[in-house]
Amino acid sequence: MGNMTNMVARIPNLVDWSTGEVRLMSAKCNSCGTYFFPKEHYQHRPGCSREGVEDALLPSKGKLASYTIQHYPCPPPFKTEKNITPYGIGLVEFENEKIQVAGIITDTDLKSLKLGMEMETTTLTMFTNEEKQEVVTWAFRAVK
């Protein structure tokens, strides 16, 4: 994780670190109970009144529901300062919210990955922009 005071998300409104904890910016529909990520990825239950959708931060910790190790560099617009391949991609389950979210696995020995292990949300610095800010995405790492 980078220096929180000098970080900017590559795409806004997806990841929040204002509380000191890194959390994904979800939304919850209070009518059908479904959580969305990103917030605009509406997934209402058919027939839902769609009333009362509000912002909701996902918990910082979840369980690894699946993972893969990507052995080839992802084509642009994916961009990192250094080549990060091979890199892990995890699907992390937030049980109470009944949602799984995908993200790059960082700061974790890829050989140690096991389904069901506890993961926490963090940030990954992809590159530094012209304003010398760290441009980040959300990522997951094993809870130590």
């Binding site: 052995h71 992802c74 994916f78 699907l91 995908a102």
Partner: protein, 393 residues
């Protein structure tokens, strides 16, 4: 609704990147379909065209470009896009036009030139086009989605790396017997298992690339045309499905999925196939040959289950027991599948139907299934697109 028959099919063989334009490939396929049906161009009363998304204005108006090659006749031309199920949409619209009596004879076609290398984002607006998020933030090319699902499957059932490799062994054996396939080398189990990982647990030979190809089908209810065609094939049902709430599959392009299933996996394909069973009165047990979308070895297994050819978790056993071989109980992908062809987005669903028609018409040479009467083509497209076509002779 009237009975509708396939009277002509045409294919431009699948290949890699080409400097030629998509409409050249389309013209080869359409010409082949006209010759097969033994009819003149002016018999075509409507054109349902699959859009070629990498072709700019021309690709988005592919039907108009095609029509001008053969001669403009003023007939309705509709251009359609449903991701990799685009061809299914074109066939379904052609069928519906003829079945409803709007037209007697309709053409459906699709042609794609490989975009060279990886598929990637098509815009830079992450708010409007969520696809941008997975490219910029999570570095997830399409096979990553399949690998995430494949890993879940391997943990839930006893699917092994050998099973995944065995799919390629079978597909490559059949592809080697198909003159229209792009990849014609037959692989051994060891060769597949020694190929590099692309995204674990999926290896290089267990996923399909993007290709160039074109396919065209002519359907009709015109009795005169039916009577002179070489072995007409009846369309029993041609349907499309979209996703259903609570489908636990992580859908290509998305970065999240439901954790608690309330619908089938790949629910768009569950929907399309089960609609087709209901409309045709034909069930999976009646199907003599099946073409399914083996974008990866995982797809081959899961599609047998989603479409009801076996129960969940039983596809591996069907594969190991040889039930899905050309001489097995349910021949699957005698064409060699996507594994031997690669994806040509707007053309592939039509090509699958053509393989089925060719099997029913006994035209498949070394890969011919023994006297099939009923065939089913199943497609899969990202973001909730699927089509099923059931045909019989």
């Amino acid at each position: 609704m009237r009975d509708v028959y396939i009277i002509g099919t045409g294919i431009h063989p699948w290949m890699g990147f080409s400097e030629k334009v998509f409409s050249d490939f389309a013209a080869v396929a359409v010409n082949g379909a006209l010759k097969d049906a033994d009819i003149e161009w002016n018999k075509i009363q409507t054109i349902m065209a699959g859009i070629f998304i990498y072709g700019g204005n021309a690709g988005h108006l592919s039907g108009q470009y095609l029509e001008s090659i053969f001669g403009e006749t003023g007939v309705p031309v509709v251009n359609v896009y449903n991701a990799c199920a685009t061809g299914s949409a074109a066939i379904r619209m052609a069928y519906n036009s003829v079945a409803a009596g709007e037209t007697d004879t309709a053409l459906a076609f699709g042609a794609d030139v490989s975009p060279k290398g990886f598929l990637t984002a098509k815009s830079d607006n992450a708010v409007q086009d969520r696809d941008v998020i997975r490219w910029k933030m999570t570095g997830m090319p399409n096979p990553v989605y399949w690998a995430l699902e494949c890993r879940k499957r391997m943990a839930k059932y006893d699917t092994t790396e050998q099973d995944l490799a065995l799919v390629k062994v079978l597909m490559s054996e059949y592809g080697s017997k198909n003159p229209d396939a792009r990849f014609k080398k037959a692989y051994t189990l060891d060769e597949v298992l020694n190929s590099v990982y692309v995204c674990e647990p999926l290896r290089l030979y267990e996923i399909c690339p993007v290709s160039t190809g074109a396919a065209a089908v002519i359907v009709t209810a015109d009795k005169e045309l039916i009577s002179k065609a070489d072995k007409t094939v009846k369309i029993n049902a041609t349907t499309m499905g979209s996703s259903m709430y609570g489908d636990p599959t992580i859908r290509i392009s998305a970065v999240s999925c439901p954790a608690v299933p309330e619908a089938s996996m790949l629910s768009e394909s569950y929907s399309a196939s089960h609609q087709a069973y209901e409309k045709s009165g034909i069930g999976p047990e009646d199907v003599d040959v099946l073409e399914l979308p083996d974008n990866s070895s995982w797809h081959y297994l899961v599609y047998l289950e989603v479409c009801g050819f076996c129960k969940e978790g039983e596809a591996d056993k069907m594969l190991r027991d040889g039930e899905t071989k050309i001489d097995g109980k349910l021949p699957v992908n005698p064409s060699g599948g996507f594994s031997s062809h690669g994806e040509a987005l707007s053309a592939q669903a039509i090509w699958q139907v053509i393989e089925c028609a060719n099997q029913l018409r006994g035209r498949c040479g070394e890969r011919q299934v023994k006297e099939p009467k009923v065939a089913m083509a199943q497609t899969y497209g990202l973001m909730g697109n699927s089509g099923t076509t059931i045909i019989s002779i």
